[in-house]
Structures are given as structure tokens and as C-alpha cells.
Amino acid sequence: MKDQLKSIYEEAKIKIERASDSAELERLFIEYLGRKSKLTNLLRNIKNLPVQERGETGNLANRIRQAIESGIRTRRQGLKAPTGHKTLIDRTLPGIMPALGHYHPLTKFIRLVESIFISMGFEVVSGPEIELAKYNFDLLNIPQDHPARDLWDTYYIKAAQGNKSFEQKEQLLLRTQTSPVQIRAMLKRQPPVRLIAPGRVFRHEATDSSHESTFYQCEGLVIDAGVKVTDLIGTLSIFLKRIFGENVKIRVRPEYYPFVEPGLDFDIRCQLCGGQGCSVCSQRGWLEILGSGLVHPVVLKNMGVDSKKFSGFAFGLGLDRLMMLSNGVKDIRLSYLGDLRFLRQF
């Protein structure tokens, strides 16, 4: 029986080799592997062989069966190849892109900022968009009628007239900064604290390509024993390097904010002109990126923090501007138009 098997294999091998189309291969498949084929018949007869021969012969028969099968498969591919894909596919046709959704560029950027601070042990908190004047100004050491209030142009909120459920005891406004979140967060926490609060803020001013009534800020606060200016500079420099690259040139200069003392602004060397002065940096060579400082003793007191034991720093950065710088967006208003020609690029 072994010889019979071998001759079937030799015969099949030659026929497969010579087959000129896939229809012939189909026929060969039936002829050699079908239910009524010689090979199948022989396999059926194995059970009649003496016990000691059965194993070896069965093994051989199966190997031959597999060899024929794979021979047909290989030949089938060989038959297709020369006439195949290359001529049937116009590889210069554009790809079919799935209809993907897109994150708003600010969402992406806020997530990036959050991830950098989270990696330094910060937590992310949030607060209301309509604030009490108390939290937005008074408790941040910006008293009513103080010239410092002029630094923030403010939208004020009132209830619809004659609607009782809207009666308001306190002055409401659209928060001009995310700093009130500092106060709110500290009413519930004890130092040590490291937090950031990204969110929507509002400024009462005419809009143009670099000014919006609505934009996003990220506030940060660190309070612990022994926090100092050099910690602030170190922490924020890391942040800026993550965003703008290791080689970014950073400059720190004094600035006034009523809720910090000393107050510091961070500038980066304009990356477009390298400091020569261009329209992006208003000929200054530097771009103002964020404001910061050591938390003012009055604000610490308003937060219920003992300034003899603890110190801290706070910072605020305009997310829109940073997002625009890193994406090359020239008009801040594009973020708020809902135009897919803009949004689908991110």
C-alpha cells in the first residue's frame, strides 16, 4: 500500500505542477482529495492492514494528503500572482479615511497641561463659571473700588427681573480668572496642597484676533512648609520645557498681581524670530506666557492657612495663547466658532 500511496503522490505532483488555471486545480483537488478519490479509498482500507503496519501507513497517507493540499494551495497563489493585485489596484487613488471625530484643540491642550502637572504630583480641580465677587476679587486681596480691579474687565450678572427664584443676595459675575478656585479648594483642604484648576474665564473687552470675551485659563497652587521662589521657577520651567522643548529660553521678571507677593511673570524667547522682534512678539523678542508669585499673606489668611508655618506659590496661564503658539493658530476667535474647517485639523 505504501507504494500505491507514493505513486499517487508523484502523479499528483506532476499534474499540479502542470495545471494552467484554477478550474483545473479544483478538479485535481476533487480527484486526489475528494470523497471518492483513490487516496480516500486507500485511507479507508488502512483499518484492514495488519496492526503493526497501520500506524506507519496511516502516517504516510496523511503526510501525502497534506502535501497535495498545500501543493494545490501554493500553485493556486502562483497562478494568481502574475495577473494579480498590481494591475487591479490603482495605488494612486486617495485612501478612504474613516469619518473620525476630533477633539477641540483646547481639550487636547488642556489634557497635555494636566498630564505634565499630574506627573509632578498635582491634582486637578474645578470651580463655577459664575462666581461671587467675594471669591473672584475680595478674598484675593482685590478690594472693591481699588484701582487694581481695573486690571480685570468684568461681566456682571443679574437675575431676570420679577423672577423670585432668581433673587440674589450677593454680587454675581463671570469669573475673570480661575484664581477663585484657589480659595474654594483651600476651604476644603489643609496643606500640603498641589493643585491646578483649568477652566473657562471671561473678560469684558472688545474682541479681535488676540482678544476674546471667553477663553481658558489654568490656575495652579502649591502650599507647603518652606515653598520658595526658586521652587516656583524650577516647577514652571519644567512645565515650559515640556511644552516648548528643552531649549526654550525662559526669562522671569517682576509683575504686580494683588494676590501674590512677590509677583513674577514668565516670558519665553519668541521662537519665530529668535528674539529679533517680529509681529508675533510685538517686536519685543519675548512672549509673555504666564503670571505667578508667592501667595500673598492676606490671601493665605483668607484661605485659613497659617502664613507662619506655610508658604506657597500660585500661577495662572492663558491656555488659548499657548495652544495657539504650539499649533500656529493666529486668531483666538477660531476656537469658539464651531467651524469644522478649523476643528477637523486637530
Binding site: L106, E205, V229, G263, D265, P297
Partner: protein, 798 residues
């Protein structure tokens, strides 16, 4: 504040170029916004002397002017009539571009070639006069650049001064800062004052301060016999560099001393103050309701009793600290002047200025606080300079009414150890003291605790932290070595609301939606589409335009706007927004987080759009394991309330044709808005995995033709009922594992009116064994029978 470097040089030595000076100011906390060179365009214009003027032979109105430009003599054609031989005039040669952008070309006028052009003030950017040639001082050298000749070879720094540093709204204040940083002392400027006995017929000013709390010091001087005219060029030039318009030689001096020292001054025409018993009485009092004043800008101002005024016995003369009055203005006819130098209460000035919407150089400084100690000196300087320039004489004696010095500058205890613990740098006490002394602070004590007192011009030093800042900025923050945070790390609290928002964004983007950000406020028109009444909206008290009037109660109005705007560019799209809406609450509005999502489809149907959006909701249901059963209750023609487990969580709408028609003939849009606070409550802890059946499934598709009034849910209910009959102990879920619609619902002529065909796919599967076809046939037969019997359905196998 515009700072002329030439002016600054009168107080300190300057090293380096303008950019280096600018950097010193910026790093001291006075950011330089711009560096301007007012004379840059005049460098190529030269001075020339007129030798002779002839008439142009071909034109009556033109002259031939022979000038000496320092090297040559040449002839220029000129039309002006104010020129005379001997005058020094500006000459622009061929190729020079003037500040008005005019470039000089060689031309001939009526046959005679002109070798350049003589320039007017307007052409030079030095004024508005264009009728005559700009005439220079007779002593001016010939052949020098005009910027030098006019002292315009200057650089002006545009500096931002923060509201706590009013002292630096002056040349002197900025000079002090520069001197402290560069280790110099500010040079004193001398204004020698000569006083004269008053003429017999001159009535001096007398003072009456009714509101000592609002006016802590008032100094009045009289200068008599002034001749009011244009100021000399140097004075005009200084004012122009500071951005102040020259008026006349008296007013200009008050502005000059204001810009130099920061002390606001006002000059009254003495003869227009009414006389009482031989004195010009000046009363500082609150205005009376109903009083009014014509201010210098020509406006009639209604006063009220909160406003402080300077009055005579008859009427208000000036709005204290804000602006003078027109009736007592110094004019060319003025002979005698009363000069006011005072300290007014910052808050009073600020309130009056805000109430009247009137801001001035004076009000800005009074609001922020001025140097109480320097008032007399500044008054003397101004009086001396007025006399010198206008030819008048200062009458002997000044009238001073003064309270005690206000206590703004108490000594602050300064622990020198704080420098290292707050700034992060070790500095010796001697260095720290040197910094304070250089800024005019006095320091007492030695060792670790110093007693530091700020100078009278500073109004921003109350705490130790304020002193730390002074040390920090003089040392230089960029010299500090950065360090990094260390200390106890507390795990962040889990924020379920934020977590849900972020995960929802991921899920929506995954489902093909693009995120939009819209404004939190909108117009009344948009409010009408919000589903809330206008009266249920919070109002913006001071909107800048109609789109900022009301705080949004729903995301829908802006999303609808997004849909319509995008239809111009796209046929099909999906957008979503997650944001806060504002509902009534106390003490603040309730800020409810919402998700709004819209699908816009081309050549679709409302039903398909609805199904697609419902599918999104079901995907979210699955992804977040809300385990909700949704139901949509009609609330209007094309709007539904979304019920999850029988309680409302949001709304769903189909955008009406009339809304879209203008923009697209083929689009259909559907929208939902859901409260995230309610979705959050449905979140369940992660569920255990359910094993799937390893046995093959059998799929059967049926076309179920029913009346339009029959709902899919009716069909599904019957099938579920039959499945229930297949439940047994080994098959607790029954043998039908899924019922769904696998294709478009067909409606059409073949079926006749009010009919539809539901393409229903049934999946049969056992959890225990391989099902046989004949078992499935039996169940399917039962389903067909029941559907025919109960719903009069026609069934076709597919």
C-alpha cells in the same frame, strides 16, 4: 508711561543703548512695551539759513529762496509766506522721506528747478500747521541734522506701570528705580525760586478746606504778570515725548512738572475767581446736588454730593483731582495765575472719575496715591518755572493747609532669614540693607531683624512679603538657581464629575463626533430656542453686544447655529459639546453640566437620523454600563423627552425642514442634550464579564409587513413573549439571543399606503448545545403565526 531717555538723563547717567536700558526697566518690573525713536525720520533733514528771497518769474505765489545749507548755497522753490531772510529752516534734499511718507524728488516748478524742499510742521510730523515753513530758533546751527537741532535725537520707552506703583508714573520715579539698580544717586534738579512782594492791586488766594479727610494737603501760590503764549520748543518737545499735547506756556509747565515728578498741578486764571473781602477764596468742598461744571474738555458735567470740587464763593471751579473748569482756564488773556498743588483722597477721585466717565493724567495718579511730602517742593518748582517761561513773578508766600502725614508708611519688621526661606538665596544683611537704602528706604537695627520704613512716595509696602519683592527684583530673579518641589505627596481625590466628562469626550470622538466650544451667553433670539423663557435666564448686566445678553440654559441654540453654519461647507457631520448651563440657584446659579450632540445627514430621513442618534445613546449606555432602559416621550412635533429607567434625563429633537431649508435641500439633523449630573448617578461599578455561548448560532431574517401604526416595540414584545416560552432550567435566557433591524425600513408603492416592512433579524442560540434547524423552524413558525394573528402582519422569509 512714555519715558524720554533724554529727560531721564537729566537725573541719571545712562550706560548702554536703549535696548539695554529697556531691559533694566523690564527686569525691575516696569515692562517696556515698545522702544520708539520720534526723531528717526528727521535725521536726514538738515537746517539751512535763508539768505535771500526773490519772486518766481513765472508764478505770483511762489518764491525763489536762496539758502545756505552749511556747505553750499542753493536755490529752492517755495510757496510759503512766513519766511524771511535770516531765518533758520528745515531743508529736505532729494531722496529724503519725510514723516508724512512724502519722498523728495528733483522737480522743476514752472521752469525752475528746486534743489530740495523747505518743510512745514505738518510735513515733519511736528504739528498740524501746513501753511507755513517750520521756523527754528535763530541760534540754531546751519547744516546739522534736524533731530539734533530740535533735541529730537531721543528714544522714548513705552513703559507699563502697575497700579501699585504710582510713583513711577513720573520721570523722577523711574529715575530712582534706574539709579537703585545701577548703583547711582539721582541728581537733584534745581529750580531757583525768587519771590516778589505782591503788587498792591493783586488779591491773593485764601484757602478753606471743608473736607480735610478728602483733601489732606492743599498748596496755593500766585504768579502775577504772566504773558501767556506758546511754550519754547524744548518744553513742547518734552511734553510731546511724554504724549502730552502742548497748550500754552503756563499749562505746559504744570504738565511738565506733573510728568517729571508725578504731582498733578492745576493753574487757575486768578482774576476769574470771585473776590471776597479782597481775597480770592478757594473752597474745597463737596458738590451740591444739581450743581454743574463745564470741564476743560468742553463737556457740561452734572455733579452730585459725592464729588469733591474746588469752588470759589459762587460756584465750582474744578473737579478736584480730575479736571479743571473751562471758566477759570488759563487763556492768552490771563495775567495772574493761582497754582494748585494738592493731595486728594484716592477713593474720592476714583469714584468721581468713574461716575463721570472722565479720566485724566491727574485722576490716574491721585487714585493710586502721590507723594505727600513732595507737594510743597513741586509747587515751588512749578511756580519758578512758570515765572521764568512766562515772564511773570511769583508772589511771596504760599498758602498751605495740611493734615498730618498719612500713616501709609509704617515701619515693617523684616526678618532677614526670610530672604533665604522665601527667595531661596542667601544674602548678607549688609547687602539687603544696601538694596533698601538704594530705593530710599530707611533701615534700622542690625542682625536678623531690621526695621524698614518705605519712603513717602511708596504706597505699596505693608508686609514683609512686600520687602521680599524689593530684594528679589534688585537682586534679579534670573540669577536664582531653580529648585524643585519636595515634600509629602498626597494622592489626588477622585473627581467623578471630571472623570465622566473626560471619558464621554473620548467616547464621543470614538463615535465620530467632533467637539465644539460655544459661548456661555447668547442673544434673546437664541434664548427663545432654548426651551426656557427669557425670564428664566440670568442676564449679563453689561453685555458688549446682543449675543452676550443672557446666560445659556441649554447648549442647543449655539449647536443649532453650528449646524447651520457648517452646512455651507459639509453635507454630513456629527458634532458635540460638553459645557455648563445656568439655572436658577442661590447663592449662585446652578451650573448644570450638559452634553449636546447633533448628527447631520445627507439624503436621510428623520427616522434614520433619530435612529442613528438613539444608537449613539445606546452605545454610551453600553460603554459606561449605565444599564438604562431608554424611552422617548414626544413633547412636540419633533421633540422628545429622553427617559432613562422612567425618569427624564434630557431632550431629543429633529431639526425642522424650515430651519434647514435655506441652507440645504438634502440634509436632516437630529440633536440630543443630556444632563451629565443625572448620567453620573446612573454609573455603576464595573460589571462582571458574562460568558458567551460556544455553540453555533442560527440567523433568520424576516420581512414583517405591518400597518404604520404598529411599532417595532409591538413586534419585539410578541417575539420576547415567545422566547419566554423557550426558557427552561438549562436555558434561562431562552433560545432567541437577539432581535434587531438589519436594513432600512421599507415603505413604498409596492406595499401601498400606510404600510411598512420591518426587516427583522432573529438570532437563535443555545448556551448548552448545537441547535437543530427544525427546532428553530418551529419557533419561527410560532412567531410568524402570532405576528399574523395579533398584528395582521404579512411575513416573508428572506
Amino acid at each position: 508711561m512714555k519715558l524720554s531717555l533724554n529727560w531721564l538723563k537729566e537725573f541719571v547717567r545712562i550706560k548702554g543703548d536703549a535696548a539695554q536700558v529697556a531691559e533694566i526697566f523690564t527686569l525691575l518690573g516696569f515692562e517696556v512695551e515698545a522702544i520708539e525713536e520720534p526723531g528717526a525720520l528727521l535725521k536726514k533733514v538738515i537746517t539751512a539759513k535763508i539768505l535771500k528771497i526773490k519772486k518766481h518769474p513765472q508764478a505770483d505765489k511762489l518764491h525763489l529762496v536762496r539758502v545756505n545749507d552749511g556747505k553750499d548755497v542753493r536755490e529752492i522753490v517755495c510757496g510759503a509766506n512766513n519766511i524771511e531772510p535770516g531765518q533758520i529752516v528745515p531743508l529736505a534734499n532729494e531722496g529724503v522721506t519725510l514723516p508724512n511718507s512724502q519722498t523728495i524728488k528733483r522737480i522743476s516748478i514752472r521752469g525752475i528747478e528746486s534743489n530740495g524742499m523747505l518743510c512745514s510742521a505738518k510735513e515733519l510730523g511736528l504739528g498740524t500747521d501746513h501753511t507755513g515753513i517750520f521756523i527754528l530758533d535763530k541760534a540754531t546751527k546751519v547744516g546739522v541734522a534736524l533731530d539734533k537741532a530740535l533735541d529730537l535725537d531721543d528714544v522714548v520707552l513705552d513703559i507699563t506701570v502697575s497700579p501699585n506703583r504710582a510713583d513711577c508714573l513720573s520721570v523722577l520715579g523711574l529715575a530712582r528705580e534706574y539709579a537703585a539698580k545701577t548703583g547711582q544717586r539721582v541728581k537733584e534738579k534745581k529750580y531757583p525760586l525768587r519771590e516778589f512782594a505782591k503788587p498792591r492791586d493783586l488779591s491773593l488766594a485764601a484757602l478753606k478746606i471743608n473736607e480735610p479727610k478728602l483733601c489732606s494737603k492743599y498748596v496755593a501760590r500766585t504768579i502775577y504778570g504772566v504773558k501767556v503764549q506758546d511754550s519754547p520748543w524744548w518744553l513742547k518737545q518734552r511734553l510731546l515725548s511724554a504724549g502730552v499735547r502742548p497748550v500754552n506756556n503756563v499749562v505746559d509747565v504744570t504738565n511738565y512738572i506733573l510728568m517729571e515728578t508725578g504731582q498733578p498741578l492745576h493753574a487757575f486764571d486768578a482774576d476769574k475767581i470771585s473776590l471776597i473781602r479782597g481775597q480770592r477764596q478757594i473752597i474745597v468742598r463737596l458738590a451740591k446736588d444739581g450743581e454743574w461744571l463745564f470741564t476743560l474738555d468742553g463737556e457740561k458735567r452734572q455733579l452730585d454730593k459725592t464729588m469733591l470740587v474746588i469752588a470759589d464763593s459762587q460756584k465750582p471751579l474744578a473737579l478736584a483731582g480730575v479736571m479743571g473748569g473751562r471758566d477759570t482756564e488759563v487763556t492768552p488773556g490771563t495775567k495772574n495765575v493761582v497754582l494748585e498743588a494738592a493731595v486728594f483722597n484716592p477713593l474720592a477721585v476714583r469714584k468721581a472719575s468713574r461716575r463721570l466717565g472722565l479720566r485724566s493724567e491727574s485722576s490716574g495718579r491721585f487714585e493710586r496715591g502721590i507723594d505727600f511730602e513732595a507737594v510743597e517742593k513741586n509747587s515751588d518748582q512749578a511756580a519758578s518755572l512758570i515765572a521764568k517761561i512766562s515772564g511773570g513773578r511769583v508772589a511771596r508766600g504760599k498758602v498751605v493747609v495740611s493734615q498730618k502725614r498719612p500713616k501709609n508708611n509704617k515701619a515693617v519688621i523684616f526678618n532677614t532669614g526670610q530672604v533665604s526661606s522665601l527667595l531661596g538665596v542667601d544674602l548678607p544683611t549688609s547687602q539687603i540693607k544696601k538694596y533698601f537704602n538704594s530705593l530710599g528706604f530707611t533701615s534700622a537695627g542690625s542682625g536678623k531683624k531690621l526695621k524698614i520704613t518705605a519712603p513717602s512716595w511708596r504706597h505699596d509696602i505693608f508686609y514683609e512679603a512686600d520687602l521680599i519683592e524689593e530684594v528679589g527684583r534688585l537682586y534679579g530673579y534670573n540669577r536664582l538657581n531653580p529648585t524643585y518641589l519636595k515634600g509629602e505627596l498626597r494622592p489626588a481625590e477622585f473627581q467623578p464629575e471630571t472623570d465622566l466628562v473626560e471619558r464621554l469626550k473620548d467616547e464621543m470622538v470614538r463615535l465620530g463626533f467632533t467637539e465644539v466650544y460655544n459661548y456661555s451667553f447668547y442673544s434673546e433670539d437664541k434664548a427663545a430656542e432654548s426651551g426656557f423663557k427669557t425670564a428664566e435666564h440670568y442676564q449679563v448686566a453689561n453685555p458688549l453686544n446682543r449675543e452676550q445678553k443672557l446666560m445659556r440654559t441649554s447648549l442647543w441654540p449655539w449647536l443649532k447655529n453650528n449646524i447651520i453654519k457648517n452646512l455651507g461647507n459639509f453635507d454630513e457631520f456629527k458634532i458635540f459639546e460638553i459645557g455648563q448651563v445656568f439655572w436658577a440657584g442661590e447663592p449662585r446659579p446652578r451650573e448644570v453640566p450638559m452634553i449636546g450632540a447633533a448628527i447631520v445627514q445627507k439624503k436621510s430621513s428623520p427616522e434614520k437620523a433619530f435612529r442613528e442618534l438613539r444608537g449613539i445613546l445606546e452605545s454610551l449606555n453600553q460603554a459606561f454600563r449605565f444599564n438604562a432602559l431608554f424611552d422617548f416621550q414626544p413633547t412636540g412635533d419633533s421633540s422628545y423627552q429622553i427617559m432613562a429607567n422612567k425618569s427624564p434625563i434630557g431632550v431629543m429633537r429633529i431639526l425642522s425642514r424650515s430651519d434647514i431649508e435655506k441652507f440645504s435641500d438634502t440634509a436632516t439633523a437630529a440633536f440630543f442634550e443630556i444632563r451629565l449630573d443625572l448620567l453620573g448617578q446612573m454609573l455603576k461599578p464595573s460589571q462582571a464579564y458574562r460568558s458567551y455561548s460556544p455553540y453555533p448560532r442560527i440567523v433568520r431574517d424576516l420581512a414583517v409587513e405591518v400597518n404604520e401604526s404598529v411599532k417595532f416595540s409591538d413586534v419585539a414584545r410578541i417575539i420576547c413573549e415567545i422566547n419566554r416560552q423557550t426558557i427552561s432550567e438549562p436555558e434561562p435566557m431562552g433560545l432567541i439571543s437577539d432581535i434587531n433591524i438589519f436594513d432600512e425600513v421599507y415603505r413604498g408603492a409596492k406595499l401601498g399606503p400606510n404600510k411598512k416592512s420591518l426587516p427583522i433579524r432573529l438570532v437563535f442560540q443555545s448556551r448548552r448545545r448545537t441547535l437543530e434547524n427544525h427546532e428553530v423552524d418551529k419557533i419561527q413558525g410560532r412567531i410568524s403565526g402570532e405576528l399574523q394573528r395579533k398584528l395582521q402582519a404579512k411575513i416573508r422569509g428572506i
